[in-house]
Symmetry: C2
Subunit: 338 residues, 2 copies
């Protein structure tokens, strides 16, 4: 299987991106990676004797969209940018998936522009894996679609459940709808319509209803459905609170200890590494005909290696076929919610 | 000054609620409290010799809306409930403010029903004080108005800035708009319209533009403006992440220490007390003609005492007059944004 990797995308690209690719092909003998970017700059970063070196190719392009650049302007003014080129490789079926730690807006817009959506999917959504007290859960959408319709949110729930089952190995994933309270009548019109769609669908049994912000980390649902505005704000709020608590602990807990200060500092450091939301690996854009993994801008080589591994796992599990099949069943004539 | 306190509202009402009132009148010689609720049950909870006992009155009512009860059904089917009675005392100007740790939805709906809004205020919004690395900031709205218009969000910014200046003692409060990215063109239509309103207003200089979820705890803005859906979800997400991190620390940090485990546990306990979002005192419903403080359902006597103190501070600062004056200036003929 072949995955295109945007070598120019990321806060510290291209060095850690290319290093991640080198690590990924060494770890997975079936994986082939196409590094998309400025070949003169990226080719020398791949050691000639790296294990799996023959499974790394290059696709040269001359431009790159900046991390803070307007996605729309970037895509229009830089036709030879690494994100558009990656999407084109996917559209031409030269690769099965694409991975980028570059400009998230440009990645999503590039995908929307091509409109290669899976059957029955109105709009793709970004799924983010969240740590909870009961193990990982998945939140979808975290930023692809800030003004969705109820049917999009319903589809996010279905896609998220398939992701949770096959990637997070959750036997029978439950689905919760993010809202301002647990009562059925709570929230916006969008929330009420989405609630009704789930209730009338074959997923009704697995639908735990409305959940609240504090329920995510409690692991109340395996799949948390929300619009891309709310999901994006929540994901970054989690990052912010985690960062804040760690800062306070460094300022107040560590100085309070004498003999075991170093030991405590090590535990905090390990926690930051494990639970830091910004380092939790790539987030798939679900609903695309192909695999698209969006990584955090600050991704280092390990995050990139993990993102490529997730892409491979996604292909092996045949996730997209499962999504099409499941949504087909929901939309079949006579099916509730059809 | 006289404040009505819903003695029946709260997870553990009426005991800690009444105890909070007793503490509050003892601490503030100008404060009078009207305890609204089942008099036979609450009067015996006030010790006859409590300092300031003569500044505690009772307003008997026979019903109470449950914490999980539908606000609309509760308000309609229980006309003699403590929340409606408190609002009526405010409407009749028998008290200057009301405080409740009861059903938040019923408190907000009770206020909307009376429609005693300040001049130029389209809809009231709940302001929540948030801890940040630079000191407290205020987030508004956190749940009163889940589908606001841009002008409501603009008014929240103005009211939040007055609250930050006079209650949080922030000299020149900055205002940020919660969004999915910092670019002007980001987000929903609502976010874009609100951004434009601030830009064209006399607040343009103090408007720091769009901010993201992770910026709250970094203290990027003193006032964080958002719709009630997003604000409510964010507030509860903060609670959830804090709770989660504390659980993980108790499970992983404390067992890793030998000699200083107790010391570390004490520091964590103090942090929970100080930063626990659920114990951060009451949140004012801004934009009401009068004072309305909504407390967390789990409020104990200290939280209730603090909420009564905030209500008194609010009255002394003449906050509502300042809000009317500021919004009048914005809406004056010829004023930008008028």
């Amino acid at each position: 299987m072949k995955i295109a990797l945007d070598a120019m995308g990321g806060d510290h690209a291209p060095e850690p991106i290319v290093a991640g690719a080198v690590k990924a092909v060494a770890a997975d003998p079936e994986l082939r990676v196409v590094l998309v970017g400025d070949q003169a700059r990226i080719e020398p970063l791949v050691p000639a004797d790296a294990p799996g070196r023959d499974r790394i190719e290059f696709f040269h392009c001359s431009q790159a969209i900046g991390m803070e650049e307007s996605p729309v302007v970037g895509l229009r003014k830089k036709p030879d940018n690494s994100i558009s080129r990656s999407w084109q490789l996917l559209a031409q079926q030269k690769v099965t998936g694409i991975v980028s730690a570059g400009n998230t807006g440009a990645m999503v817009a590039g995908g929307l522009f091509l409109r290669r959506f899976l059957k029955n999917v109105g709009r793709p959504g970004i799924a983010a894996v969240m740590p909870t007290i009961k193990g990982p859960s998945v939140m979808i959408d975290v930023g692809a679609n800030v003004s969705p319709k109820a049917e999009h949110l319903f589809q996010y729930g279905v896609m998220g459940a398939i992701f949770a089952k096959h990637i997070l190995k959750c036997e029978r994933p439950t689905i919760g709808l993010m809202n301002v309270g647990s009562e059925e009548a709570k929230g916006t019109d969008l929330a009420k319509e989405t609630h009704a769609l789930f209730h009338a669908s074959p997923f009704a049994e697995r639908f735990v209803g409305n959940i609240e912000g504090r329920d995510i980390q409690r692991g109340v649902a395996d799949v948390v459905v929300c619009d891309g505005f709310v999901g994006n704000v929540m994901l970054k709020t989690c990052e912010g609170v985690f960062e804040f608590v760690m800062k306070v602990l460094h300022k107040e807990l560590l100085p309070a200890l004498d003999v075991e200060r170093d030991k405590a500092a090590q535990v905090l450091q390990a926690l930051i590494g494990r639970y830091d939301y910004s380092a939790f690996g790539g987030a798939p854009l679900l609903g695309i005909d192909g695999i698209c993994i969006i990584c955090h801008g600050s991704s280092g080589e390990v995050a990139i290696k993990n993102a490529l591994a997730i892409a491979a796992q996604y292909v092996r599990a045949g996730l997209n076929d499962l999504i099409v099949k499941e949504l087909d069943a929901v939309h079949a004539p006579g099916a509730p919610g059809a």
